[in-house]
């Protein structure tokens, strides 16, 4: 056994355990990656928590997460429910909706950069059909973040497919029984379907939150954190201070706060799930 799992044990030590500990150490130092780290105690953390730009990145990221993740889950679930009926061309719809979620972050960013272009972009053109003069989208600090949130809906196909799988796993006997008891569609969804797919919902929620805490590509390709830092995401800030300003110590402090927050959020969601998530036959995962 040990021979078989040794690649992972080595990999875990070298690529996970060691970096986590090293990152913790760096976070207490001044470090530019070239010269050796210099111990500064809690200096980085003190500076970080006093820095407006840091708090701005926290707010930008939280705002993005709190708006986009629930809406994405709602859309994905809605689409899955639509597709979970006997309809013609179901396979085509499923494929078409799933496909955008496989487009690379960079290609997607390039494409949408153009879609959002205020002068020649698709979005404002479509709005003009309805006599609406569209905003400047990515060029305006007030709308830039919302533009990225809208863009994120384009990728809900991945979550949709998983919901669809979850929906197809709901036993028809249960649905039949509920129907015979005279339950309406809404009530069947609320009392049977939703509890049955709640583990999927939970899994998607955790993944979605963790993923959106790490938004990087959009800021890197489309907005460079701007305008006026309105899309200065946490990981973009972390990347900038480490690899543009050569402040790896400071970035490590940011990384550790991120790590702790991700752990806490996962823990809270899991705890809540004990109360709301229904596992079939009470088996736990």
């Amino acid at each position: 056994m040990y021979a078989f799992i040794s690649p992972w044990v080595i990999g875990f030590t070298v690529f996970a355990l060691f970096p986590i500990l090293a990152s913790l150490y760096y976070s207490f130092t001044d470090y530019d990656i070239i010269h050796s780290p210099k111990w500064v105690g809690l200096g980085n953390y003190r500076e970080m928590f006093a820095d407006d730009l840091y708090w701005n990145s926290v707010m930008v990221t939280l705002k993005y997460t709190f708006i986009s993740v629930p809406l994405q889950l709602l859309l994905a679930m809605g689409f899955a429910l639509l597709l979970n009926q006997k309809l013609p061309f179901k396979g085509f719809f499923r494929t078409a909706m799933y496909f955008p979620s496989m487009v690379s972050g960079v290609a997607m960013s390039l494409l949408w950069y153009w879609v959002f272009n205020p002068q020649i972009g698709l979005f404002n053109y479509m709005l003009s059909w309805f006599g609406v003069k569209g905003p400047a989208w990515l060029m305006d600090p007030n709308t830039a973040l919302y533009s990225l949130i809208i863009m994120s809906f384009w990728g809900v196909g991945g979550a949709m497919i998983i919901f669809l799988a979850g929906l197809q796993g709901v036993p028809t006997s249960l649905l039949e029984a509920a129907r015979l008891d005279g339950a309406g569609k809404l009530s069947i969804f609320w009392h049977v379907t939703l509890p049955m797919i709640s583990p999927v919902l939970l899994f998607q929620l955790i993944l979605g939150v963790i993923e959106s805490f790490q938004v990087f590509t959009q800021a890197f390709v489309m907005t460079h954190g701007g305008p006026s830092y309105s899309t200065w995401f946490y990981v973009y800030g972390l990347y900038t201070s480490a690899f543009k300003e050569y402040r790896a110590g400071y970035s490590s402090a940011m990384a550790w706060v991120l790590l702790i927050v991700v752990l806490i959020v996962t823990y809270i969601i899991m705890k809540l799930s004990n109360r709301y998530v229904y596992y079939e036959g009470g088996k736990s995962r």
Binding site: I20, L87, T95, M102
Partner: protein, 294 residues
């Protein structure tokens, strides 16, 4: 009043009514689906059509859906102007090696976790699961330090080598798969004098085609689309992967963004994924269902 109540109670009436109601919801769903699908596909359609436009036409307002004349030369231009061929090759090579390495290492480790009951197995498995939650930014700086001390910066090694040590999701998935294989198969193998490694190679692997294919597809897409890691490690233009190269296209190198070429690049970047998707469509959806990953 009374008659209508009675009629509602009669089974025939209810069935007919609910069937009609059902048909209405189906029609509405169908129309909704068409609209949503159109919205989802619109940017993609524009991506393809714009890739055939002349640069002048990309600047026109209102945007044209179909190009005045198809500029097939765009697809040549991108290769001559932007080292696109080199980037494509780099991405392809890295992705293929990553896929092979991931398949090999993840299946070995998964086999180990599935088949044996050694000391500390559960603890190690818990650790493995917890690394799935580990955000990459939290470990990227020390990894960068490690790889730069090894002299690996501006080489493909940092993008390839970690794949040889297995990845948590894939190990988890394959372990579930191997653990469900019937024990009798392995008993038979043992009777025939098969070694553990032989049973892994001759029994477990051949039976796990669907799971392995899923992993291959997902790790290909992941490697093909990844931006952050190559951005950290690759500096010289001839080492760029596709995402890095494409991201650099938006930088100040051009006064006016060459939308037609950017869309050509996007189309070509999507091409291998489309091919994979077509080749393995059925397996793909099964795989997503199987793994719950995207």
């Amino acid at each position: 009043m009374i008659t209508s109540n009675r009629m509602q109670e009669s089974g025939v009436w209810t069935a007919a009514r609910s069937r009609r109601k059902l048909d209405m919801t189906r029609i509405i769903s169908f129309i909704l689906l068409i609209m949503i699908t159109l919205l989802m596909l619109m940017p993609l359609i524009f991506m393809v059509t714009t890739s055939f436009k002349s640069q002048r036409e990309t600047m026109q307002y209102p945007p044209t859906l179909f190009p005045d004349s198809l500029q097939f030369s765009n697809y040549m231009d991108i290769f001559s102007r932007l080292q696109f061929g080199t980037m494509y090759q780099n991405s392809l090579m890295i992705a293929v090696i990553t896929v092979l390495a991931t398949l090999l290492s993840s299946s070995l480790v998964a086999y180990g976790f599935a088949r044996f009951r050694g000391k500390g197995r559960n603890l190690m498995f818990m650790l493995l699961l917890s690394t799935m939650m580990l955000p990459y930014p939290a470990i990227m700086i020390p990894q960068f330090v490690l790889f730069s001390k090894l002299g690996w910066v501006d080489t493909f090694l940092p993008l390839i080598v970690p794949a040889f040590f297995g990845s948590a999701y894939n190990i988890f998935l394959l372990r579930q798969f191997f653990a469900n294989l019937p024990e009798e198969l392995f008993d038979a193998g043992r009777m025939d004098g098969c070694t553990e490694i032989g049973m892994y190679w001759k029994i477990a692997l051949p039976l796990s085609g669907a799971a392995m294919a899923t992993i291959a597809i997902f790790s290909f897409i992941y490697s093909w689309n990844d931006l952050l890691t190559p951005v950290l490690y690759l500096n010289s233009a001839d080492k760029f992967t596709l995402p890095v190269g494409m991201a650099s296209l938006t930088s100040s190198k051009f006064r006016v963004a060459p939308w037609h070429l950017l869309m050509v690049a996007s189309v070509l970047a999507l091409l291998p994924i489309v091919v994979l998707f077509i080749l393995a469509q059925k397996r793909f959806v099964e795989g997503i269902v199987l793994t719950g990953i995207k």
